[in-house]
């Protein structure tokens, strides 16, 4: 099985993988420390809560996805499997795209609801200027 490459080629791939994963990881960590002000204290775009942080997060997610791709296709030999196997494993994972969108949206909504409750709890309720009803009561409803 998997005799698509010579033994020497296979060994080369392994050390290429070691270098690749190692270098990506080091770059990720150094970039994370840089973006969060641990290397140059005035540079903190990685936690500014805005565009800089979004860009930083995208870069990190991209690097991780590439590492995942490399592990699955070369260490787990997905690239040597037949198409049916590849698709039956990878296509179901697309469901996660919707899971991420839906649950992050939901999370944001939980936060908004909690903030609304906090504000409502702080509100000072003024008693109504005149508590006396001006109309008359009939069958439980106020007329006039």
């Amino acid at each position: 099985m998997a005799a698509h490459q010579s033994y020497e080629d296979q060994k080369k791939l392994v050390f290429y993988g070691l270098k690749l994963l190692g270098i990506i990881t080091i770059v990720e960590v150094v970039f994370a420390l840089f973006a969060k002000g641990h290397i140059v204290p005035s540079i903190t775009f990685g936690k500014d809560g805005g565009f800089g942080q979004a860009l930083y997060m995208l870069a990190m997610i991209g690097a991780s996805l590439y590492k995942a791709y490399f592990i699955v296709f070369f260490f787990m030999h997905m690239s040597h499997e037949v198409r049916g196997l590849v698709f039956s494993v990878l296509l179901p994972l697309l469901l996660l795209v919707w899971a991420i969108i839906a649950f992050f949206q939901e999370g944001g909504r939980w936060g908004a609801a909690r903030e609304q409750i906090r504000q409502k709890n702080q509100e000072v309720v003024q008693p109504a200027p005149s508590a006396k009803p001006t109309g008359y009561w009939l069958n439980g409803t106020m007329k006039g």
């Binding site: 960590v29 994370a32 649950f103 999370g107």
Partner: protein, 294 residues
């Protein structure tokens, strides 16, 4: 011993190549039953982990603040200074190395090289055990010295600018100057042991910006869910590593005994545990991303 039980498995792989697909004997997708099922198990496991990590994301999104990973994870054995993310990078490298040695074991298996398989599997087990030890260290620091638990999280970030005050609202002076705090700055509330219970220190801040400007508040614990999510998700991953080490050990002993050499199927069992082991590394890529980098 190995010669008497030759290639039973090998024969079943060969016959039945013609005729109806449903007659059996033919491998759909050109992968053996065991390998195929390992792939589908890993798909289901991927959904489990994805569910946990997405839950982490959703809860994090719902909180006004969240502990900063490069502030929380900054311990290193025998080092007193703050070394953010260094130890966890070491752990990541341990897993990458053990993944690489696992690939080598699978390759030696294809060549029916028993010594090679056992040697590289042994290194893989060593890597897995080192990772588990490192995780035990990380958990010990968090639980014992920083008092994080599934329902307590002393790590937080200030929600607005402010100045530290005492209980009566008087500004605390250090060297004749007030202690200012900034929005999003991280803090750790230290614990004090009292009659066997740990109580967190009480600090007060008078905010000068944001919705609470002018008010004095006690500095609260950070989002409670942080500890539970951290211990549950890294614990679940660590449990995968632990089971992986157990299975690797069993399979290494079987390989040593000549069991797989007798099967003459290119050490397929090593290939299957290899798939599992790489998956554990793969999950770590995302745990590392979500907990330590973002």
């Amino acid at each position: 011993m190995a010669e008497t039980s030759v290639s039973h498995a090998h024969e079943t792989h060969e016959h039945g190549t013609d005729g109806n697909l449903w007659d059996g004997g033919k491998e759909p997708m050109k992968a053996s039953y065991g390998k195929l099922m390992m792939w589908y198990f890993l798909v289901s496991d991927a959904f489990t982990f994805a569910g946990f990590l997405i839950a982490y994301g959703a809860i994090r999104f719902s909180m006004p603040t969240w502990p900063e990973p490069d502030f929380v994870f900054a311990s290193f054995p025998f080092v007193k200074a703050h070394w953010p993310l260094v130890f966890v990078t070491f752990m990541t490298f341990v897993l990458i190395f053990s993944s690489v040695t696992m690939v080598r074991a699978v390759q030696e298996g294809h060549r029916e090289n028993k010594r090679g398989v056992v040697f590289w599997m042994f290194l893989t087990i060593l890597g897995g055990a080192t990772f588990l030890g490192s995780q035990a260290y990380e958990w010990t620091i968090l639980i014992k010295y920083e008092n994080v638990s599934v329902n307590r999280n002393p790590f937080g970030r200030y929600i607005a600018d402010g100045v530290m005050v005492d209980e009566s609202g008087k500004e605390i002076m250090v060297n004749g100057a007030p202690v200012n705090v900034k929005k999003d700055e991280s803090y750790l509330l230290h614990g004090h042991e009292h009659d066997g219970n740990v109580a967190l220190e009480k600090k007060y801040v008078r905010y000068t910006s944001g919705a609470y400007a002018g008010q004095t508040h006690q500095v609260e614990e950070g989002p409670k869910a942080f500890g539970a999510l951290f211990f549950f998700i890294t614990g679940f991953h660590g449990f995968h590593v632990f089971s992986g080490v157990a299975f690797l050990t069993i399979i290494m002993i079987n390989a040593m005994s000549g069991l797989y050499a007798a099967r003459k199927n290119g050490y397929e069992m090593v290939e299957k545990i290899g798939l599992y082991w790489h998956f554990v590394d793969l999950v770590w890529v995302f745990v590392f991303l979500v907990f330590y980098l973002l």
